[in-house]
Amino acid sequence: MADNNFDLVVVGAGPGGYVAAIRAAQLGMKTAVVEREHLGGVCLNWGCIPTKALLRSSEIYHLLHHLDEFGFSADNIKFDTKKIVKRSRNVADQLSKGVAHLLKKNKITVIDGAAKLAGKGKLTVENAGKKVADIGAKHIILATGARARDLPNIKADGKLIWSYKEAMVPEAVPKSLLVIGSGAIGMEFASFFGQLGSDVTVVEILDRILPVEDEEISAVALKSFQKQGMKIHTGASVDAVKTGKNNVTASIKQKDGKTESLTVDRVILAVGITGNVENIGLEEAGIKVDRGHVVVNQWLETGVPGVYAVGDLVGPPWLAHKASHEGVICVEKIAGLDNVRPLDITNIPGCTYCYPQIASVGFTEAAAKAAGHEVRVGRFPYLGNGKAIALGETEGMIKTVFDTKTGELLGAHMIGAEVTELIQGYGIAKTLETTESELMHTIFAHPTLSEMMHESVLDAYDRVIHF
């Protein structure tokens, strides 16, 4: 490489890193990205995208089992795990190549290897233990992401006890499965394998599943999963696991203190993630790390001049769109653009692609109250929506939370078909700072699932029409 001096070097090409790099290139910065593994990061290669491909397959399988309802019949419905996995991998590959193309199009230098801070404005890059480059950078954005966390007493071995990575490329669907952790990742895999016929047990240490969601949504989800045949233990923990030849015996400590033994084919460990803070020279540079995450201010500055950090590396919510948005904020602030706004955590939507889907943005009812808001709450069930009934998707609800005094939309919480697409409507409303009045005045097309978003708002003000 002729000139190894850049205006901006991004370490990590996940959704935080590559988006930051493209934005920087748009703003005229000479930009490079250093990536040690795959362009697109975990999200694109081992997270969001390939799991959506898998879940599409399980959704189709689920529908195939309800053919009769829609007037079809078919015999001998089967699936091929290898083909399902292969499709998922192809989707990931296609998108990773797409990122390579985007970086090239924006004239961003891509350097393969692992970067490490090496003094003010300097980085070294190693590949397979060998130094491959010294880079100079006026600004450095760390976007190294995060990885699955182990438990002190249970570690993923990649064979019988899977992390998300192994769970994504199964050779066969296990007959029985124990999922430890009921966050988004845990419930998506529980849903995927459950729909493909696994006997799924979920263990959650907190008193409800999907604990970041609104309590009512957790309750509706629990009912639905149980109806699908999942066994769910809340307030429970897995004390110990014993791996056999081709199975695992777990001892589950229940809420009531009793211990139960369960033997399953496979275990998926989904108990959260931890930032990739190692081997990037943070300590030597004097960058503060707190509980596995780099500490930054609202402009993503680490406190060491010229070094910034974004995405999973700086902490929850561990979401690709949050990382991308931080990357853009960080770059625009570096470029000195007007009207850069810090991230507002209450405007970040969260989506879980289990069946039924779950999506939310902003305060839960409990969090709103805890923050001192007096609230008005609206609810609308899928059962009251024409389109939902026509689709045969009558399970779910949409809940909205408003501030009584100002009418501010504080939060929206949804469970049911396609809610991961619907949530953007409330996201826009929140970003534009609408009150209940603008939402009420918005004309929602009929017949759509979106009409429920309207009705939920109307319900909060005792004006619901169709229920």
Binding site: K288, T302, D344, T435
Partner: protein, 428 residues
Amino acid sequence: MPIPITMPALSPTMTEGNLAKWLKAEGDTVTAGDIIAEIETDKATMEVEAVDEGVLAKILINEGTEGVAVNSVIALLLEEGEEDSALDGYQAAALAAAATAAAPAPALSPELVAAPTVPTVTVAEAADGARVKASPLARRMAQQAGVNLANVNGSGPQGRVVRADIEAALGKAPATGSAPAAAAAPVPAQVGVAGGALAPTEIPHTNIRKIIARRLTEAKQQVPHFYLSLDCEVDKLLAMRKELNEKSANEDLGYKISVNDFVIRAAALALRKVPDANVSWTDDVLLKHNVVDVSIAVSIEGGLITPIIRNTDQKGLAAISNEMKELAGRARDGKLLPEEYQGGTFSISNLGMFGIREFAAVINPPQGAILAVGRSEERPVVRDGALAVATMMTVTLSVDHRAVDGALGAQYLAAFRGLIEDPLTMLL
């Protein structure tokens, strides 16, 4: 049928106020003329008198409620002999009416429309009718808090006023949500000594403090100030004052004129002489005032307020003096009506009584200038090439450069000094 008691308008421009205190409780008997509640606007506190007789059956707006729209129902009165059940169904209707019926805009008389209108503090819309970009939430919060959106700096796209701007204008820390990692800022700003008995005492902002903070910040941020200072010899003025006051004491004429009263009259007459200095800048046009209304800063508990002597140029020293005393007294008691301190075309701030020699004051928008007056003191002066002693008073004019240029400001001050140094000309 219950009689609704509505939020009164204390002035033609008032659109809402705070219900400061209920002086009667539910169940109390009320006769016409009884003081039943205290209403607070941004600066004054006023009493609400009952106009009907009966029993205060239901209080609908609790005391301490801010931003109560004029004409909304605040309580229900039952006439003698009426049963409590008469309230059923009525309360809900009254509340709904209160919620939806924003205060009807007070109809302006034709003269008022024709006269240069001066935007007041609490109007929730831009005075010039221009559209202010603001989010719906910001609009509602501004309306509830009585903040004029036109006076709020928008930080959103294209200057759009968003929630955070209203919160900043109200002096609140941004409420929720923004910047999850803000708490972990690498360079934490520490004010004072954190924790324990050494921590600073938090004094909640009063309404008036918030208004002062907002208005003065706006003035300093948006009005390009410049300053002109001048020394005035006041020996003749002091002699004349002594003579006038002795006359009043001997003949019981009922006035005692202060140096400040002379300053007020001189400032007003100088505006008459230099009418181009009696102006207000607005985005569209320059307002040249046809009246001389001088606001005088009065220090009150917890802040300051600027009561106005209307048509100052048409009032004699005794009239100014007595009106000033009366206004200052009511200002300190918090009993001024909004129209008694909102408006004015020019301000005076005098800190001479505190021994201040000279200072520069902050303009009170939309006025174009403010005169800061120092103490009168004996100073060495050079007269005909020799040192002499004279009683001098230094005044500093703060001027809005958009509306008044340096030469014009100087011309005004020269006219002022001419009147002060030769007080007999104030009779002309």
